[in-house]
Amino acid sequence: MRTSSLWRLTRLTLRRDRKGALLSAFGVAVGVGALVFFVGLGLGVGQVVRERVFPVDANLLEVVPPPVSLGGLLGGGKLDAATVQRLSALDGVARVYRKMNVRVPAATRYDGAFFGAHIRMGLEVLAVGVDPGLLEQDVVVGKFEDKGPGQPIPGVAATRLLEIYNKTFAPARNLPRLSAALLAGFTFPVDFNRSFIAATSGGPVIPTQVKLVGLSDRAPLAGVAIPLDTAIRLNQQTGQDAATFTGVTLVARDPAKIPALMAQVKEMGLSLDDTERRMSENAGLAVVLTTSALALLSVLICLLAAVNIAHALFSSVRARAKELGVLRAVGATRRDVQALILTEASVIGLFGGAVGTLGAVLISLGMDALSSRVLPPFPFKPDTFFRFPWPVWVGGLSLGLLASFGGALFPSRKAAATDPARTLAG
């Protein structure tokens, strides 16, 4: 039978039992819709976790000194200038950015105007000096460089810190919500070698001002990034170690080089700080596992739909035995009959898959609209919890098709085996 004839005959035969066809399609639509919904939810939440909660740059590798090192006694395991030189010479390294913590405590005591409100607070501050190149792309006011003693220190805060402030701290204390643009240029006092909770080195307290010049995903979450030269200067002024670094960020030429680089770094007796990466992976894994469990449930619904289609088609083939006999009498081959049943089921499956996929997307839009109205703001709350890239659409349609086609396989064989001589007798 020609494809065009098969298509016309399928339309004709489906038209005769619209209710049954729609019922079967509904079953497929429920299964496919549930699957597409949960997969879309998993992809959407996963994207938020990867890109906003734990943003991990695939090209970066954080190198730190080993927690315990015998090599230190023998002159190895330290992150000094020579080691940084060796790291920058490793195969696959594009750039290195040094980091050095200010090794004395620091605290801020702020009592003044704060974007239309008045605040009075004291906070411990962790200051991390970094090579300016690591953050320069995120600096929006002035330059990220050491301006010398007595001058405000340029600081870069974590983007996530602003998100947490806006969604939890500000609403709880009735403070204004801020944007990155508003914060740029905000200056606050910081006293180095002063602490509310920890012991200090006993050296001089260095009162300074820190001026926020930008926000960055690469800045430390619990602190502020300052120029490396400033950190070195402050450590020298307070009599701390100003020669070794607390970390080095390696930028790989290619993310594929990362595993090899990791191995080389470990061979040098150094450690890797992959806390952020592991947290991102763990959170991502949790999302994937939850989504997979729900998707599995949806696949089971699809299987049930396939069984339902098989059952409906078996009944249909029995009820249509005479009709199938007539088709054979007027020239249908066994394969034509099988193709007819399979095509009918495929149309039902594609229709169900399309309705299910579209339904899932519409429900997700409704859920997003509802969440924006009903759910209170919380850190990293996205505009949408869902993501539906084209493979999800194709997958939804394919699953509908597969469920129906699978369900129709045995009934179509039974239909093809219909003996016209027997069904048309009498």
Partner: protein
Amino acid sequence: MISVRGLSRSYQDGEASLRVLDGVSLDVAPGEWVAVVGASGSGKSTLLQIVGGLDVAYQGEVTVAGARLKDLNDRALSQLRNRDVGFVFQSFHLVPELSAVENVALPAFFSPSLGAEESRTRALEALSRVGMGSKADRTPARLSGGERQRVAIARALLMRPKILLCDEPTGNLDAATGEGIIALFQTLNQEGLTVLAVTHEERLSRVAGRVLAIDQGKLFEPGTPREAAR
């Protein structure tokens, strides 16, 4: 046009084997109208189904429109049924949800050459030929028994077959309606169509060109000693 030699057909009924046709031989010339008469269960419908290629589990030789049926696979047999043979059944076997014209056009779906437009045109022509042109869009439920059988005949004629195989074509019709259908067969036969009809009714066999009787699986000319014995 039809040649049957030594045709036998048995059905398995549990342990027992029931022989329905027993060494039947038959020749039907092109343009001939042959009626096979016999009581219910005499094997006449089985004979028709074998000649039409619907039943292939037989012994013997059957040649239809120059093709030896044993040599044909499912595809070739289906082509033969589509192109060379038209079936008319006692129970009409129309698809209830389809209109008359859609029922008539069914064979065209399995033709390698007929498109949608041509199928419909031909179906309307076939309906007009049997006097049903004005009721083309009616479903079988809205047609009388005689009209349904006319639609079934139109379906059998759609592909312009060489042979019309009729299984009790007037069996479900009243006398007057049956006469109309018989007159239609006469016209079709006069136009050159070969007709092989099986029936247990006298009115159909009266107008056939040749009448054969079938009894207990054996076919014979009326008037032979066996027929006389009946």
